[in-house]
Structures are given as C-alpha cells and as structure tokens.
Symmetry: C2
Subunit: 191 residues, 2 copies
C-alpha cells in the first residue's frame, strides 16, 4: 500500500456512492508536503524521458503540476482553461469535455502561443474517471503537434473505463492510486 | 525596477485599454522558476509573522500559493472555489464577488472544515484590480474567525482603487508590482 492509498483510506470520503472526495489534501485544501512526495514519485517514473513542459487543467491539477515541474528543474506549466474570458485571445486550441462530476459539457482551451511542436509534454491531473478531461488535453496536444511523453494522475477510478481508454490509446499512464471498488463505504485498490 | 515589473514590461499585453494580460508566465502558462523567485520575495516580507496557512482562489493564485507555501515549510494551502459541485458539502463559508474581468457576479466558498480560528492566514492572489476577490477571501476568513496576517498579490492595478480599499481596511498588503498607468500601450509603475 503506497502513501496515497493510505491517505485515501484515512481521509477519503464517498458521496452518492461513487464520487470520491479527497479535498482535505488534494483538491480544496492542498497538503503541499504530501503533494511534493507524489511529485517525486511521478518524476522518478518519467525520469528517463526528455520532458520539457507540463500540461494540466484548472483548477485541481495546478498545485501537483507546479510541484512536478520543480522536480524537472522548473519547466513551464500550461494549464488548460475551462471557459473564455476577456483575457484570452481567439487564437486557441480547444476541445469539448463532458464532466463526470457535474454531468455538464464544457470547453477546455489553450492559447496557441503556449503549445507547439517543440513541446515534449507530461500531462498531469488529479483524477481520472471516464477519461474525458484527459482526452481533451490529448486532443489539444495533438492539435498543437506537441509530443505526449506521459500522463500521470493522482487517483484513478479503476472501476470506470477511463484508465483503459487512455492505455488503449497507447499512452504511458501512471496512476498513483487505482481504486478497485467502493463497497459499503470502503475503498479497495489495485496493486 | 524589480523582476516582476521588468517581466511585465517585456511580456505584458494590454487588451481593451485596461485588461492586463500576463499569461505567458503568470496565469495561463506558468514560469515556475520565475514564480518561485516571487514566492521568495513574499516569504522575505512576511518572514517574521507566524503564518500557518495560505488562502487563495482558483485558478491563477494556486501555483504562486503552492510556491509560497514551500517557503513557509510546506504549510497547507486552501483555495476558495468559484462554484458548487457535487464534491462540495453544504457546510461552507461563502461570499459574493463581482469579477472585474468578466463583469459577472459569482460566489466563492471554502468548506468549513478547512478554515478556523487557529489559522493565521496569508492571502495570495495573482491580480488586484478593484479588490473584489480579496474582499471575498477576507469575508470568508472573518466568518471562519481566522486571523489574516497578510495579503500579497503579484500585480496591483494602482490606477484602480482595490489597493487603497484593502490598505484602508488595515491589512498588510504586499503588491509585487503596482501599475501606475497604461498609456499608449505602455506601462508605468509606482516605486
């Protein structure tokens, strides 16, 4: 059992049967010392790859992406945004995403200035459910002709098909904890 | 002229006369090595205060808050959220905020679990315009009986009244760059 699985067992909460809430350390309150340990594990796994940019998505991926960046010497992080604001130019790569949590569609986008064919990308996110957010980030990376060198998420819901979809696409996916089942309010994990 | 002012002069763009766009390093692409230097300046300014938690707001404050946390030994970061999702309980402190950028009202909230009377808070954000987001975070902190030990933003628009409002409320506000004016597409700064 690794440090993340332990932490989920200790603090993870289950809402409506399958919404996993780990907001005491991962996506509302951020335990920076703990996330830094996760970043170290991610760096160790991808250490032989010539990664020069991190791509994530607002908001919950940003802290982990920041810490992983430091392990790679402080490479730039780009976070995909979820809606248009006045601050963003029209010169964007975008992709439509269906949210597992909110059941709504939204658009994610990255300015063309910040993603291109010279980028060797590591994609980081907090959760992998049905893989929709990751598919959006992959789509954007492909549109930019960036090379995806790896993908890492903190928590994969192994009882949903997102992980299988991403692995079947051929990507090197590191999930730090893979939940096998949630039964009677208890978590079990895949090894 | 400090490092942030220099960077704004070099890369800052002006949209619609007064929207300052610094998304090459601060709020879309994140230059982690550079933000780490800003975090060091913030830590140095507040080093004698017994700060034990960082409060910020999604999304653009999270990376800087993460790096500032590390300078304080990895204290917890809490980021206020901007809308309710299934993942959030109803047990929240909330405050209404008017966005300077989008001209829309939205609600910010923090789960009651993650903010209380034992928290000595440093509030971090990327931008200070009319002070609405900061006022929301201050309101939430007060509702939680947390103590606000300081506030720091990267860029203050000195030609708007947000900085004056926050300082007049008695808070110790550190703005790393204060834009005095934007005229003919050029920035000037207050010392």
């Amino acid at each position: 059992m690794n440090i993340l699985e332990n932490r989920i067992l200790k603090e993870g909460k289950i809402i409506n049967g399958d919404v996993v809430k780990v907001d005491s350390f991962l996506n509302h309150q951020l335990d920076i010392k703990f996330l830094d340990k996760l970043a170290e594990i991610i760096k160790d796994y991808f250490k032989n790859k010539d990664i020069n940019k991190i791509l994530t998505i607002e908001s919950s991926g940003i802290a982990l992406a920041t810490l992983v960046s430091q392990k790679f010497g402080g490479i730039n992080v780009v976070f995909a945004k979820k809606k248009k604001t006045l601050n963003i130019s029209n010169d964007i790569y975008s992709s439509k995403v269906s949210s597992f949590t909110t059941k709504k569609d939204y658009e994610v986008f990255v300015s063309k200035e910040y993603l291109n064919e010279n980028d060797n990308i590591l994609i980081i996110d907090d959760f992998l459910s049905e893989g929709n957010a990751l598919k959006g980030l992959i789509d954007i990376s492909n549109k930019a002709n960036s090379k995806i060198y790896g993908i890492s998420v903190a928590v994969e819901k192994g009882y949903l098909n997102g992980g299988k979809i991403i692995r079947d696409m051929g990507y090197d996916l590191l999930s730090l904890a893979i939940i096998k089942s949630i039964k009677d309010g208890r978590f079990t994990f895949y090894d």
